[in-house]
């Protein structure tokens, strides 16, 4: 077998890298201001990646590069979803960025590089690969937050994001080095085997675990490492905030699964206790602080924190059902997040950001259809049936109760009630209040169509028999398969 053909599990990554470099060069020769060629090339690349991922998929688990890279069902599913969400994010943000002069070749290349980072994270089975992917992702995001050079808010956000991010990476590396010290390896499965056999220095191991969890929770944006989330969401261009809140969450989910669930399974009693505190605090802080926000991006940032807390509940319940539920929750969250930011960007015009709650006033009178889409998104985020957001919450709660944490389920439910208030407030503004301006909303046909599909899917997934079942099963099966590694 030739060397190249042994690389096929990583073909998608290789293709993406090659295409990104090509796009970087091609863009130099694109003189047209709206960069249609570059944009189409990027979308084509994403489509190509998706086709390659599907074509190279095969049952079972493949290891590559001396066990540093793994290809299994979970990685393929998460990668496909990442392509989808990056592609959607680009469609939504195109006209927003064009009117602000930010729709440059760099933006798209950085997006693709961050996607590459996510893919590496998703497929990593070695601590170093994980770290590599994470840094590639983070560095691109830092740069993208600062893309709007003249905006002080964006610069400040990028600075905060960068410094705190660097700190978290440091914590993560420090923790990994302790794990290495205790087990003598950085390979996820070797670490896991070593711990199972018993290591002499358990304290060191747990100490390292604390740092790893701290680093992870920074990337997730879980309390107490959540401080950056509101500032970055607020300061960054809306398109970038949307990107940060969508696909990377899928990658970080894979990260958590590979490190905690796969590698450090024997230490579950320790990390699940840590996750429990973080989850409850995230739900509390996220939901309560969101009430006080007047800026919708900040509100969505706090809502993200609470959603990540809820997602952690699935992981801490410590069974395959719970992991599957957490993944499902994550996928649904990404879908809702994309839709919500998509609508914020639609309402923005040249030189005007529709990012305060007031901008949603009377949307029902300006555009009933858009208001209805936002209504679906908000009710789904609040977890009100018949939207799919409810079933995501339900699946997680079910796993939590099955694991015997009845009190956590009750706490989670009570915080969802608090959360419902601020989502309702958006609905209230859109439907009950009079609009402040009657300016018509300009909508590109592709954006409008995608927004509609995105929001209606929250309903359609539930109402069309079988679809919800399929999605949930895919999550459960793919997570289950990746756990059979050992």
């Amino acid at each position: 077998m030739s060397f190249l053909s042994t690389l096929y599990p990583a073909y998608a990554e290789i293709f993406l890298l090659v295409m990104t470099c090509a796009i970087l060069i091609v863009d130099l020769f694109v003189t047209h201001k709206d960069r249609t060629l570059t944009y189409l090339l990027v979308q084509f690349t994403l489509l190509g990646c998706a086709m390659i991922t599907v074509a190279t998929h095969q049952p079972g688990v493949m290891h590559l590069f001396h066990n540093m890279f793994v290809d299994d069902l979970m990685s393929d599913v998460l990668k496909l979803l990442s392509y989808l969400s990056v592609s959607m994010a680009l469609v939504y943000s195109r006209s927003y960025l064009l009117t602000r002069g930010l729709f440059s070749g760099e933006y798209m290349v950085l997006t693709l590089f961050s996607l590459l980072g996510m893919m590496v994270m998703i497929s990593a089975s070695h601590f170093l690969t994980l770290y590599l992917g994470l840094e590639l992702l983070s560095l691109c995001l830092y740069a993208m937050v600062a893309l709007e050079r003249d905006s002080t808010a964006a610069t400040e956000a990028a600075m905060k994001y960068f410094i705190l991010g660097a700190l978290a990476s440091g914590l993560l590396l420090y923790g990994m080095s302790m794990l290495y010290g205790a087990t003598g390896s950085l390979d996820v499965s070797t670490v896991s085997d070593a711990i199972k056999r018993g290591v002499p220095n358990k304290e060191l191991l747990v100490f390292g675990l604390v740092f790893v969890v701290a680093g992870l929770s920074f990337k997730l944006g879980a309390v107490p490492f959540h401080m950056w989330v509101p500032d970055v969401y607020h300061g960054a261009p809306t398109a970038v905030a949307m990107l940060i809140g969508s696909a990377p969450k899928l990658a970080v989910f894979a990260f958590v699964m590979r490190i905690l669930v796969d590698g450090l399974q024997p230490l579950m009693e320790h990390w699940s206790a840590m996750l429990m505190i973080m989850a409850v605090l995230s739900m509390a802080v996220g939901n309560i602080a969101a009430i006080a926000q007047t800026n919708i991006k900040r509100m969505l940032a706090y809502s993200t924190i609470s959603h990540m807390g809820f997602m952690l509940l699935g992981i801490l319940s410590g069974n395959i059902e719970g992991y599957g539920a957490a993944m499902f929750y994550n996928v649904v969250y990404v879908l809702m997040n994309l839709g919500a930011f998509g609508i914020i960007m639609l309402l923005s015009r040249e030189g005007f950001e529709a990012d305060t709650l007031e901008d949603f006033k009377g949307l029902n009178q300006r555009s009933p259809w858009l208001a209805f889409m936002m209504l679906l998104l908000m009710f789904s985020m609040a977890g009100i049936p018949p939207t799919v957001g409810f079933f995501a919450k339900f699946a997680v709660l079910q796993a939590v109760i099955a694991a015997g944490y009845m009190w956590i389920a009750v706490v989670a439910v009570l915080f969802s009630l608090i959360g419902a208030y601020y989502y309702l407030r958006i609905v209230k503004l859109m439907y009950f209040d009079a609009p402040e301006s009657y300016e018509p909303i300009k909508m590109q046909p592709d954006t409008g169509l995608l927004i509609s599909i995105n929001s209606l899917s929250l309903l359609a997934l539930v109402l069309i028999p079988g679809t919800l079942q399929t999605l949930m099963s895919v999550c459960a099966v793919s997570v289950g398969q990746s756990l059979l590694l050992h």
């Binding site: 009100i384 049936p385 018949p386 099963s473």
Partner: protein, 494 residues
């Protein structure tokens, strides 16, 4: 034929489908078309429920018109529908009211007509879903989905303080529902992975768990009924809601809570129900007596009827928790009758409000001089609300009092005070509004009810009188089911 075997699905989805169609007519330029489509949808929605009554087998308490399809296999959630003698009447009641509400909003609603009509149609379908679900998760989905249209109805077309009322309504109900969700997931685990309500009925549950489950259900259902300490959202919601919203709230939504007790609390946790019956009876009696007195003090007509509703629903929960056939059948009849009567009263108040734009009793007086036909109808409904024999209000109350008497004389004594208080607050309001000299210019310029309003009131008046004189068509439907439920509840489930 495919329709004949899917009558319940039809009752649920037909109104929803028409609701979507109405929405598609778009903005207010097409309002006449929106109204027409809504009316057709509402009437068709009612017509498809009639075969349910005609084809109903009264001799069995088993579920009828059953439909069962897989929905989410992963959690064993099924699209499982069916009705028995308890749920059947409410589906009819609900579908009966939808055309009336559409008709009542025909002229009055001028802004966003399509959305208004669509909200009511969709709501109607969802409520039918609540009554027909035999799968707990399906029930829960419909139960919560009900909140969304109602929230919008109150908030968009309501009175000045509508936002406060809408949010309060939503959050109150959501709190209860979420605890119920936890209970349902517990039952799912306990039953080995099933959401079949009927399976829960026969499943053994330890006492502590029963009590917790009962309390979780209680928070959900008591908010909806509403029972005494958690009733405060109702007057706010009623006062701010548009007429149609008030009618649906009083006639249908409140019944959903009481229905929950009969479908979930009692059969799933019978031992806990018996153990906590004392508390439930006490709360019910407080509602009957105390809220009756509160109603006496109201100066706002809608608030008065809202409090009267709470008081009447106290009767319903009393009837349910004294565990005998009189009480339970009385409770069910009272629910149906209260649906008609309170709906009619809110419509009557709506008629006055549309003309004068005030709900204050003090702003009226001598309305009979200007609106004699209206005064006559209003009289009938006021009498029914105070439980006059010969009207539907009497049958239920009488049976509940007889049932209470069998349980304990003092229960019956306290419950019977409602006959006095009810008459006092309703008739006193009636006297101040309708009789006397013409109070002011507004009243002097009143015009009597139109043909459209006459049609609505005549239909309701006939039903109220018919049910009062000859309640058998209603009671014979529920008879077997109620008896079997009582037998079931009497058995312990440890």
């Amino acid at each position: 034929m495919i329709f004949a075997s899917h009558l319940l699905s039809l009752a649920i989805w037909l109104p929803i489908l028409f609701g979507v169609l109405v929405l598609a007519t778009g903005n207010d330029r097409n309002a006449p078309m929106a109204r027409m489509i809504a009316m057709v949808g509402a009437v068709l929605g009612f017509l498809v429920t009639l075969p349910l009554y005609a084809g109903f087998d009264k001799m069995t308490s088993a579920m009828q018109f059953v439909e069962n399809y897989g929905w989410i296999a992963r959690f064993n959630v099924n699209y499982h529908l069916g009705i028995d003698g308890i749920s059947m009447l409410f589906i009819l009641l609900n579908s009966f009211f939808t055309p009336l509400v559409v008709l009542a909003g025909w002229k009055v609603i001028e802004k966003r007509v399509a959305q208004y009509m669509a909200a009511f149609l969709i709501m109607s379908g969802i409520v039918n879903g609540v009554f027909a679900s035999l799968d707990a998760m399906l029930f829960y989905v419909f139960w919560e989905a009900m909140l969304i249209p109602m929230f919008l109805i109150i908030g968009v077309w309501g009175g000045p303080n509508r936002v406060y009322a809408a949010v309060k309504f939503f959050l109150y109900t959501l709190l209860g529902s979420l605890l119920m969700l936890v209970a349902l997931i517990y039952l799912y685990q306990h039953s080995g992975g099933s959401f079949e309500i009927l399976k829960y009925h026969t499943m053994g549950i330890p006492m502590t768990a029963q009590i917790l489950v009962f309390i979780a259900f209680l928070t959900a259902f008591s908010v909806k009924v509403p029972m005494f300490p958690v009733h405060t959202w109702l007057p706010d919601a009623h006062v701010e809601a548009p007429t149609g919203g008030s009618v649906i709230l009083a006639a249908i939504m409140l019944k959903v809570g009481a229905y929950g007790f009969l479908r979930f609390s009692l059969p799933i946790a019978p031992d806990a129900s018996h153990k906590l019956a004392g508390v439930m009876i006490a709360l019910s009696l407080i509602a009957v007596v105390y809220i009756g007195l509160v109603a006496l003090m109201q100066s706002d007509m809608k608030k008065l009827v809202a409090y009267s509703s709470i008081s009447h629903m106290g009767f319903v929960t009393l009837g349910i928790f004294i565990f005998n056939a009189y009480g339970m059948e009385g409770a069910l009849l009272q629910m149906v009758s209260h649906g008609f009567v309170s709906g009619a009263l809110f419509l009557a108040i709506g008629v006055l409000y549309d003309r004068v734009h005030s709900r204050q009793i003090a702003d009226y007086g001598g309305v009979a001089n200007k609106m004699p036909v209206f005064a006559a109808f209003f009289m009938l409904f006021a009498m029914a609300n105070s439980g006059l024999p010969g009207t539907s209000g009497f049958v239920g109350e009488f049976l509940v009092i007889v049932g209470a008497e069998k349980a304990n004389f003092w229960f019956a004594f306290l419950a019977a005070t409602t006959l006095i208080f009810g008459a006092a607050y309703t008739l006193w309001m009636y006297k101040r509004v309708i009789f006397g000299a013409v109070a002011n210019d507004h009243v002097a310029h009143l015009s009597d009810i139109t043909l459209r309003e006459k049609v609505i009131f005549s239909i309701l008046a006939l039903t109220v009188l018919g049910m009062g004189v000859y309640p058998l068509p209603f009671s014979e439907i529920m008879h077997v089911t109620v008896n079997d439920l009582l037998v079931h509840v009497a058995r312990t489930k440890f």
